[in-house]
């Protein structure tokens, strides 16, 4: 299938991008790597009148090493993270997650901001940023604000982004050297969307025993204290016990937890 007709703008600075989005309202969509939006355009599941290409915006290309966190600009590709071309404050967790996203060809263009804004529940960054308690940085007509990653995805393809707002980056906290983590996902086929994700980040210096159950029907389920973990009970928060979905999600949590001990 071929996309329906659309107009295309590639603003060179953030203010211009925000103006375009505010004026077009729901008729505009932001384009970054195009790895999620492209197929939707081609299948005509999305028919925006205007595409605003944000890849030229300097703010979205920044990567900043801050005191307690690393700011990763929205247009940073999965490949850049996988390759370590971006500082990794998570003791290897970010790189491991990036490496497992789809296929390398997709990772060469797909972006962390695009993935979060698209909010496909099966997306790796949706789960990974939630368990890291990352902060999503948003810029809009009202200025800049941050949203906790766990609060950012509201449901399937639905986020806390308001009208005319752009996701400019994500602030990932620096884990201590004593941190341990695991990330386990089940795909029917290598490179395809996850059917279930289980992930844990343990950082005694922060008092963290965080976990997440991802690839659900909506927002990932964050486990604030994973010291007492009942995978079946967590899975039951989203799925009926006895179903296939419940089983694979419980197993994902179980295996992610077991991977911590290795």
């Amino acid at each position: 299938m071929k996309a329906a007709r659309f107009d295309y703008e590639k603003p060179r600075e953030l203010g211009a991008a925000l103006k375009l989005l505010t004026e077009a309202g729901a008729d505009a969509k932001v384009l970054a790597g195009g790895q999620s939006l492209g197929p939707m355009l081609n299948l005509r599941l999305a028919q925006p009148a205007l595409l605003v290409d944000v890849r030229g915006l300097p703010e979205l290309g920044e990567v900043r090493d801050e005191a307690d966190a690393v700011f990763i600009g929205a247009c940073t590709t999965h490949a850049a993270i996988e390759d370590g071309r971006v500082p990794d404050p998570t003791q290897g967790f970010l790189r491991k997650v990036a490496r497992g996203i789809a296929y390398r060809a997709v990772r060469n263009r797909g972006t962390v901001g695009g993935s979060l804004a698209h909010a496909d529940p099966a997306a790796d960054w949706v789960s990974a940023m939630a368990v890291l308690d990352a902060r999503i940085v948003v810029r809009g007509p009202q200025g800049e604000r941050t949203v906790a990653a766990a609060d950012f995805v509201l449901g399937i393809m639905s986020t806390a982004l308001g009208e005319g707002e752009i996701l400019v980056g994500v602030r990932v906290p620096k884990l201590s050297t004593r941190a341990r983590w695991s990330y386990w996902k089940y795909c029917r086929k290598t490179g395809e969307f996850a059917e279930a994700i289980g992930a844990f980040v343990i950082d005694p210096d922060r008092g963290w025993w965080r976990g997440v159950m991802g690839a659900t029907e909506g927002a990932p389920v964050v486990i604030e204290d994973a010291r007492v973990l009942d995978p079946a009970a967590v899975a039951a928060e989203a799925y009926e016990p006895g179903t296939y979905e419940h089983q694979v999600h419980a197993v994902a949590l179980k295996r992610a937890a077991a991977a911590l001990d290795r």
């Binding site: 299938m1 071929k2 996309a3 329906a4 007709r5 197929p39 299948l43 005509r44 089940y186 029917r188 086929k189 290598t190 490179g191 395809e192 969307f193 006895g242 296939y244 089983q247 694979v248 197993v251 179980k254």
Partner: protein, 778 residues
Amino acid sequence: MHKGVGARLPRKEDARFLRGQGQYVANIRMVGMCDVAFARSAVAHGRIRGIVKPSGREASVFTAADLAGVRPIVADSGLPGFKSSAFPVLATGKVRFVGEMLAMCVAATRAEAEDLAAAVEADIEPLPAVHDMLEALCPSAPRIHEHWPDNVFLETVIDADLADVQARAAIKVTRRIRTARQAMNPMEGRAVLAYVDRRLDQLVVYAGDQMPHITRTGLSECLGIDHGRIHVVSPDVGGGFGYKAILLPEVVCVAWLAMKLGRPVRWLEDRYEQLSANANCREHHYDITGYADADGRLLAIDCEAVVDSGAYSLYPFSACLEAAQVGSILPGPYRMEKYRCRTWSAATNKPGILPYRGVARTGVCFAIELVMDAIARAARREPYEVRLANLVPPDAMPFVNVTNKYFDSGDYPQAVRRAVAALGWDGWREKQRRGLPDGRRIGLGLAVYCEQAAHGTSVYYGWGIPMVPGHEQCQARLSPDGVLELRIGAHSHGQGMETAFAQVANELLGIDPANVRLIHGDTALTPYSTGTWGSRCAVMSGGAVATACQEIGRRVRRIAGKLMEVAAEDLELVNGEVRVAGTDRRMTLAEVAHVWYRQPQLLPDDVDPGGLETTAGYKAAKDTGTFSYACHAVVVAVDVELGHVDILDYAICEDGGTLINPMIVDGQIYGGLAQGIGTALYEEMPYDDNAQPLASTLSDYILPGPSEVPEPRIDHMETPSPLTFFGQKGIGEGGAIAPPAAIANAVNDALAPLGVELLEAPITPRRILAALAAAKKR
């Protein structure tokens, strides 16, 4: 270096394919070319009350009413009782499957044509849809073709009295076995570009096509114009598998439009169309019983089989090919006393069935091999022991089996022994007993089959197929510079014929394959052929090439004999030269050719006036063709928490007779294996109760990728067929026949101790977990 039959010569065509320089229909650009998109039915079954063209763009949209004079596609089997259905190229009266074409929209670009298609308004009164072949057979089912008394294209019966066997059988295994509907997914979709050549007063049709001559004939019949005014060219084809062995309604429509508009018109199928409108293969159901003695020796097979044949009979193979095949090949490579089989080709509200690599052999192998393993479990014997006890032994060859199939040659038990040994079966049994540290359960499985290929006239006539192959031809011409041109009517879509037939020429004429040019795919340049299907080309086209080369060789030696003043019999053809045996007197093929073309005064008086160009015809010594065979043996690890199956090892022992190019054969097997794994574990097009296809993208319809397909160990046996030129047999489909059965048997071997036996392909995690849960409850 040997470059003839048997050489692992690198393929000539790979020079362009591996560099992305193949030329497919989509690569062709023509001035004024426009693109077509079809508005397709979103309803599986309904009465068309009206189709409204987008206002202001009516001249760019065409419905059935506009295509007056274009005849529907009709593919009637000659078998008694076959019910005829006409497939209009654009829907008329009723729609009968989701994806059926309602209107043809043309614009400067495909995107704009899709805009038009989206604006076409179809007023369709929905009717209850038939989504399942078993329900289609119920008397109360909605009628798909209202002039029929039921939803059955054809019923076939092979009858036998089983009373004696039933009384004697110590083991009786009864199962309901099912394979899912699939989409074939060649990398290149269907494609057609048509235009009118005013100089030649011809419609020219470029199409990715396995049978260009049949397409030409079909277009002639549908459009009502004579063959001379149609020229079909199939350039490079990016995968066929049967998907492009069909007279397409899209091709008829685009050809008609090219004639009407007087400009080049193109349609390129995309993956969405392929999945949502053309999931058209593999869906079988078997109610099957195997009777055996206490040792697992087969006494009889009794079966009722249904094939989901979709809504229309497609040309040229018809709706009943697969079910008719089921009846005659279900016995497989085994001996048995009695055999009874009834089949139905059921009509449903789905795309019409096409034969997909392996055709019915994949389904019957699945059915009978699962029964054989069940018999083995009942007899408490290893699966391979039960196979060895029942396979037709080599000393019985040639063997006429219980359905009168003529097995020409082979050592079926040896293939099993070698595959089992190659896998290291007994070693894996030991590992299975010990268990894997991560808790996954090991299972061993195997499947054996024999594959009838290059079946000819009487077989296809016997199946009532509207297209019956006869002799195959090759036109061979030795050029003035010693280059050999071979023209055949079949066409490559992965078989590597440009290389294989150059090797055949080398074998007979000593000519370097680099100096041999294969011309195929073009109806203006090649002899008529039913095309490439049924693994027939190595035997049929290869035999024709060999026969033609033999004749050229005779003529070359007659001329050279005169020139070198020796008897023709004293001349040998080696290394591109004609040599006097036992001496070093020689001339090149080019020098001989030069005399024919440029110095006829030097020719012998009795030179053949046909010169260095000849057309030779060929068919295998028996119409029943060849029987290649193989055993696939596999080890799996089943994760019983996730239902996930990993293939740990895979071994194949196959016998394709004499292999013209063993590397090409290996490639065929790898590709078939990948598709077989798809059938076994991944691929399924589900339909809901409204006969809506549910997997419209490749994230839902899962194709195995490199991580899912292991590299198999392939062991070749080469028992020459006594019926073909070099002893070669057809092997193009074998790789796709056995994997579903072998893998299912392995999974069942892993899970038998847990009381689980899976009988439905694909064996998905959901099905495994459901079966484990059900077994636990029991």
